[in-house]
Amino acid sequence: MQIIIAVAVLSTIAFFAGILLSYASEKFQIETDEKTEEILKYLPGVNCGACGYPGCQGFAQALSSNEASPDSCTVISAKNLTKLKTFLGLETADNSKSQKRLGALIKCNGSDSEEHMKFTYEGIKDCQAAVLLQNGPWKCPHRCVGMGSCVAACPFGALSMGEKHIPVLDESKCVGCAACVPACPKNLIKMVDIDRRVHVLCNSTDTAKEVREHCKVGCIGCKLCEKVCPTGAITVTDNLAKIDYSKCTDCGLCAEKCPTKAIFVEPEQPNTESVKETQPTENKADKK
């Protein structure tokens, strides 16, 4: 008998609570902007902040009120961008080729031999922390610290620590959000056109003698590259070669001449053309 009473009482409560809840859900409904919701579907959803807005939600709101342009998102895939532009009623010019795709370039070739180390670092695995002690464990004051702060900062898992204690970029994963740039205490990461193949992998403005003492593969400012370049794209200032990418033709003559191999021709990575649908491997942005 008792069990029947219990079931009856609970059922009654459940019934009235149900009525109350269904009423409340109608009455206190939060209005959502359908347009924003629809825009959000096309955005990558990684909240990297490269557009300058607080996450994808903020960017979507700005888009729906016409405050921003879809082009501000560097992460979005070409396919989604076209779809988004069609949805917003913007002109979908042929932007698949004309728009440069940016990627991170770590400007250090990284001499890895023991003799170029000052000491063995024991402490927090963080570049900022390592730099505070004697300006990092390497003799070269410009060398990549190699503790992987940029690897940790990348929301797409595009960077991984390489054998030479220098991060390696997976071009197919990099979306050019530049989240890694402020993570580097030595300011070694630059955003460049990802399809470019010839780069100067050194950021040292020290003299040739100093570079030779610290490193085997650094730029010594010998100007051989400047002389050999057929288009005049390379200039050496402050003992450091710099490529003007607007003039560079990726011929690779400079890299052949470079005595320390500080100028490097990247091998063509397969499937760089097919830009993957941007999916964050690990959604760190949400965790925060």
Partner: protein
């Protein structure tokens, strides 16, 4: 029996002061010295000598470049054979003089006794500045600046910091035992310059012999006294010393002088006495050499600028059958590791610790188990474990609101952490990042 005083929280670190009974040995002048122009907090000194100049012991090499700056003096007689960028113990390349000793050149006797008599306050301060005196406990803040606090603070107490709370180091302990008269006259000078009412010599109770000696010497002077403190880390921190001795708290973000107290390190007080009474510039200091890698640990009076490898060699060298793992400049808690032995002993170098695997306990960092031992250890009343989590997530502004900038980087939290989390290193990193951000904003 004098009652011992202390501050709340803190950490009981093992003393390991084996060298406390070793009398100070005076080392002969080294063959070469390397003197950096920046051995103190503030602007580096400006060189007045140049390459190939002959200099005598005590000659001015570089003059102070402003109020918060001190001059540098030659610590041996010889020839300047190098002037340029040399590696600084803190890691940067900065300008320094390299002097080679010339045995034919005389070493002038610097100790000329002068009568203080009617010397004016400003003259004494000028003398202290001209002697190049800085805080010799390791902070290296120019002493004349400390002795001329802002007008609005009325200083009534001078504390001589003889607590030497860092384990292993015994340089201040030996200085107090062997130069008690200089210490007392240094204290008197500070009291007179600051127009203070009283002077306190604060000593931890593990240095009873020094306390007894100084108490006996101060018997007839009611305004000067010895205060025994409980042995606890970081008793020698300026703020905690003031709290223990006078009960006054330094408010967050304020100068210690705002409490009406000025704290001077024991070795510094001896240097002040030598500078004012004997016109002797700061050219030598007492350094504790310790660690299982050295043959003859002890306390040595060395010339400032002596290269550490020369210094160790002069004391008898390293043990042959042992591998040197780490060299620390300063104490084990707040000192820093050196990348090479070819670096000079500076004005603030209180100790050189040559460690092998025997002393080093480097453990892998594991996860915080929320035992709150760091909270109990933190002398500033912070929550180290929470701050560490904020800093790991790069939440610098939140950490600032949690008073990260109050951290004195004493390392008591790292020492006590059973999970071997380098807490203090996170805080140092966070503080530097915050300071850099503030600079960028300006």
């Amino acid at each position: 029996m004098i009652k011992t005083k202390t501050f709340p929280f803190g950490e009981h670190t093992p003393g390991m002061k084996e060298t406390a009974t070793f009398p100070v040995k005076v080392l002969p002048p080294p063959e070469r010295v390397l003197l950096h122009l920046s051995q103190h907090k503030g602007a580096p000194a400006i060189a007045t000598k140049k390459m190939d100049d002959d200099v005598l012991y005590g000659d001015l090499l570089a003059e102070a470049s402003g109020h918060v700056s001190v001059p540098i003096h030659a610590s041996i007689s010889g020839k300047i054979t190098g002037f340029g960028n040399f590696l600084h113990p803190m890691g940067s390349q900065s300008s320094a003089f390299l002097i080679r000793r010339d045995p034919s050149m005389p070493e002038p006797a610097l100790e000329t006794e002068t009568d203080l008599g009617l010397t004016r306050r400003s003259e004494i301060l000028q003398k202290i500045k001209d002697a190049g005196i800085v805080g010799m406990g390791g902070a290296t803040f120019p002493t004349h600046v400390k002795l001329s606090p802002p007008e609005e603070f009325k200083i009534d107490t001078v504390i001589i910091n003889g607590s030497e709370c860092e384990p292993v180091l015994t340089a201040d302990h030996r200085s107090m035992l062997e130069y008690p008269d200089e210490l007392i006259s240094g204290l008197k000078i500070c009291v007179a310059v600051l127009k203070a009412d009283r002077g306190i010599i604060a000593i931890e109770d593990n240095k009873q012999d020094a306390a007894d000696l100084l108490t006996a010497k101060l018997e007839k002077q009611p305004s000067l006294q010895v205060q025994l403190l409980r042995t606890k880390y970081p008793q020698g921190s300026e703020k905690h010393l003031i709290l223990a001795c006078t009960g006054r708290r330094v408010k967050s973000g304020q100068l210690p002088a705002s409490t009406g107290v000025v704290v001077i390190n024991a070795s510094t007080a001896i240097a002040i006495s030598n500078a004012v009474i004997r016109s002797k510039p700061l050219t030598e200091r007492i350094v504790t050499l310790a660690g299982s890698a050295v043959k003859n640990p002890g306390n040595y009076k060395v010339r400032i600028g002596t290269i550490i490898s020369d210094f160790i060699e002069a004391t008898g060298g390293l043990k042959e059958d042992i591998t040197l793992r780490k060299v620390i400049s300063g104490g084990p808690m707040m000192g820093f590791a050196l990348p090479s032995l070819e670096l000079p002993i500076q004005k603030g170098t209180a100790g050189i610790l040559c460690w092998t695997d025997e002393e080093l306990a480097i453990k892998e960092e594991t996860h915080c188990i929320r035992c709150a031992r760091c909270v109990r250890a933190c002398p500033m009343g912070l929550d180290p474990t929470y701050l560490m989590k904020l800093l790991k997530a790069q939440q610098f502004e939140k950490a600032k609101a949690e008073k990260l900038l109050d951290c004195i980087e004493c390392g008591a939290c790292s020492y006590t952490c059973p999970a071997a989390i380098p807490l203090a290193q996170y805080f140092v990193m966070g503080k530097r990042t915050l300071m850099a951000q503030q600079k960028n904003k300006k």
